[in-house]
Every structure is written in C-alpha cells, then in structure tokens.
C-alpha cells in the first residue's frame, strides 16, 4: 500500500464549523500548509461569494468541493441547485456535492423518493455540464436514509450515474460520486464498487467511525480514533484512478467542534499521514 501524500490534505469547513468563519478557515488552511478547502454554502453566504473567491485565490487553494447541492425534497430545490452550480463555477470547485434528501415530509414512499432524485438530477445535469461543474452524488449512511439522503450505497449512486448516461468513459466526468469513508466503510461491496466507479470518483472524504458511536449524525471521529481501515480504502480509491484531495470532514458536536481549531488542523495533518 502507498502512503498518503501530505500535499493532498483538504479541509472541509464542517470540521471547524462552530469555531471558524470561512475567512478564518481559508487563512487557517494557508497557515497550516493545507492546499485544499471545501466550503459549506452557509459560510460562503456569510462571507460573500466574491470575497471568498478572491481570498481563496490569493492563498492559492484548490476548492475540492462545494457542500452542498441536492436536497430535492425542498420546495425551492431547482433554484437552490442553480445557485449552487453558479457558486461552484465561480469557485472553480472540483465538484458540487449532492446530498439528495430523504423522504418528503409525510411520505414513506422510498422508491418514489429515489425516482425523484433521478428526475431532479437529470434536470440540473445539463446546466452543471454547461457551467463545467461536475456533480458528485454522495451516498449517505443508511441510518440517514429517512432524513438526509435516500441514496445509501455506492452501487446505488453508480446505478444512478449509469441511468443518467455517465458511464465514466468520457474524458471529463460530469456526474460521479463523492466517496465518504464514514458513509460507506461498512459496505460488503465497497472495493468492487470503487473499482466500478473508476474516474467517476470526484471527491474523497475522510474521518473515522467511533465505536461506540453515540449520535446518528454528529459523532464522527478523527482519523485513527475509530475502526475504519483508511489506508486500505484510500488505496482502493487511488487504484481506481482518483488522484485528487483527501478532504477531512468531521461532524463532532461533543469533541472536535469544542476544540481550538488550530489544534484540530494540526492533528488533522498528523493523522492524515496514517491514512
């Protein structure tokens, strides 16, 4: 197995969500020698798109993804996804991450929710393609199927890509997947589906699964503190052709969101070497 390239570490701003504004996170990345950043749109709105673009460029950071588009259960989903595509374009983001949404309010019809995801992506895909913004469907852990995303395995996400005409053989992939170890580590078909994904892996997110995990959304661990075989999964992803960043995304209400963000970034750098 090859070791992780330290130059490929990226910070998903959710990791320091409660501590830093986007401007602080950009400057923090630069200070700690990180070359990539993935902003969330609420933080982006606070700073303003123009200022964000300018600050990110002045520090020469890559935007490894914009979080997030999707949520096709929302009333204003189409407008919101259009705005997200524009923002991702302005940021020259490697992709717009799609968290597709769970069951619509009051509905139990999971099959219909999934059909709708395909319909909605087919609607925004031409606009994303025209803007040069690849869309990355992020399968979320099955424990979040009802409330956050009804796409729950890599296989399902790739079936969606296939159905929407993206088989991964074109030179530039307009629709692919975001592989977040937290969501997919348990999957018996993970290695097989990463191989199948090939160039359609558009983003790679890391953190760890704590045992025990105390919350269905906000108890993620720092790399090395849990039970995910991070080096193995990264080697699968890179073996499939992915050469992009490794984006740290840790939602952690009780631990990492309470710490000094400079300490968080320092530990991210150390632990990344072990992944």
């Amino acid at each position: 197995m090859t070791p992780a390239d330290p130059a490929l570490l990226s910070l998903n701003t959710a990791t320091v969500k409660s501590q830093w504004t986007l401007a602080q996170a950009i400057e923090g990345c630069a200070r700690h020698g990180l070359r990539g950043i993935a902003p969330w749109r609420d933080k982006l709105a606070e700073l303003g798109l123009k200022k964000a673009v300018s600050l990110i460029r002045s520090h020469d950071l890559s935007v490894t993804g914009l979080c997030r588009g999707g949520f096709f259960t929302a009333k204003d989903w189409l407008e919101d996804n259009r705005r997200a595509i524009e923002e991702a374009h302005a940021l020259e983001a490697d992709c717009l991450v799609l968290v597709v949404g769970g069951l619509p309010e009051g509905s139990k019809d999971l099959l219909r929710a999934r059909e709708r995801v395909q319909e909605c992506i087919s609607k925004i895909l031409p606009e994303a393609r025209a803007a040069g913004v690849p869309l990355a469907i992020e399968p979320l852990h099955p424990m979040q199927a009802a409330d956050r995303a009804c796409v729950n395995t890599l296989e399902q996400a790739l079936d969606l890509c296939d159905a929407l005409g993206e088989d991964g053989r074109s030179a530039r992939c307009a629709l692919g997947v975001a592989v977040d170890v937290y969501h997919v580590w348990w999957d018996p078909k993970l290695e097989q589906q990463i191989k199948r994904a090939g160039k359609r892996v558009l983003a790679y997110h890391i953190c760890d699964w704590l045992a025990p995990t105390r919350d269905l959304a906000y108890d993620r661990g720092m790399m090395g503190d849990g039970i995910i075989e991070l080096a193995k999964i990264r080697n699968w992803v890179e073996g499939a052709g992915y050469a992009g960043f490794h984006e740290v995304e840790i939602f952690s209400e009780r631990d990492w969101w309470q710490r000094d963000p400079d300490e968080v970034l320092r530990i991210c750098r150390e632990r990344h070497l072990l992944t």
Copy 2:
C-alpha cells in the same frame, strides 16, 4: 396487497424486556391471544429450559425463533452456539437467530471478520442440521457493523447461504435469513433480494423506524409510528413464499420499555393489522 393475518402475530420478548419475565411473557401472549413467542436466552436461562418448554406447550404457543446464537467474536462461541442449538431443539423453535458479531476487540479488519463468520457457521451448521434447527442469519443495520454484526445486507447474508451450500431449493432449509424490517428497510435491493431469498426467509421481524431516531440501538418504534412501509415489505416476504409469523421486536429504552406491558401487547395487536 393482502392484509396481515392477525393469527400470525408473535411476540419477541425483547419488546417487554424490562417489564416481564419469560413466564409472564408466555402468559401475556396467551392472555392477549398471540400464538407465537420468540424468547431471548437470558430470560430462558432465568426460567429454566424445562419449565419454559412445559409452559410454552401448555399454552400451545409456537416458538418463532430463539434469540440468539452467533457472536462469533466471543471466546466461548462454539460451546455457546452448541447450547443455543440444544435449546432451540428443545423449544422446537422455527429457527435459531444468528447475530454474527462485529469486529473482534482491537481489530479493524472487516473482511477477515466476515470470513470468520462463514468459517464459524460452517462449523455449527452440521450440528444444527442434525438437531433439526434451522439457522437464520440476521443482517443487522450497517450502523451496528462494528459492534454487533458484520453481516449488514440481505444480499451479503444470502451470499453466505450460497457459499455454505444452501441455495433454498431443498425441501427443508437448514440455513437462511431473518428479515428484520428495522435493519433492511433502507436497502435499495430489498425487494430483489427478498425474491432471491425465497424459502430461505426463516423469520420476519417487525417494528418501525422513527424519524428522527435518537439512538443507534434502543430507539425503535411501534409499527405505524415511523416511516417503514410495513405492508409492502410483508407482501414481498409472503410473495417469496414465507408463511410464518410476524414477530414484533421493539428495543425502546425511552418509550415501550417504560410502559405497562399489557398496554404494549394491546397496541401491538392493533398496529399489526395495519402492517
């Protein structure tokens, strides 16, 4: 869709775990007109096997499953599973449910843990077959992969059955699966894999998935209080050839384990009609 047959309701004793002994649960089932019961082995040990067999027979209840064998990560797994097979035999249980165990202490090697499950089942299968006790592998929700079971989808469980020589075509199935809606409702391949399972469905467990769910193990809902399409899944299972009981299994620290158990059984009966 056909409606649920009220005669097929069974009580998994975990549903009234904090309120009733096994003797009380047996009498409670008889009092409320339930014809099936699935005991847990700790309660069985408290009452004593002989007394349990006698009490269950005197009330003419079917034992729809014994919970549980498996946990192949335990040091005494072989002896413990042998004892479980003997108990299931004495109870004339429809199956012994296997919760296979997660990662061994200190290990992150999920692939190896899964290989070991297959090795261990292959070791106990001849003894179970000789005792006339069908083994039901229960895939557990992926959120429990690290700590309770590294078999996490119906597809994976059926692959295991195939690998161990049980393709479901024999007259009496010695190795199959327990389908618990809580664990599998989210699975994009659920309908397909239930069809594939056919006669290998040895047990069918019901409850509901609450949205939001506040705990990774002990926050299950009563049928109708969550978002699972229970009637649809039951029709898939019965369409595949399953004609057995519908076993209510609700782990609920904050709600159902705090209620009057007679109220719990009364509500189970009412809600079962809607599933």
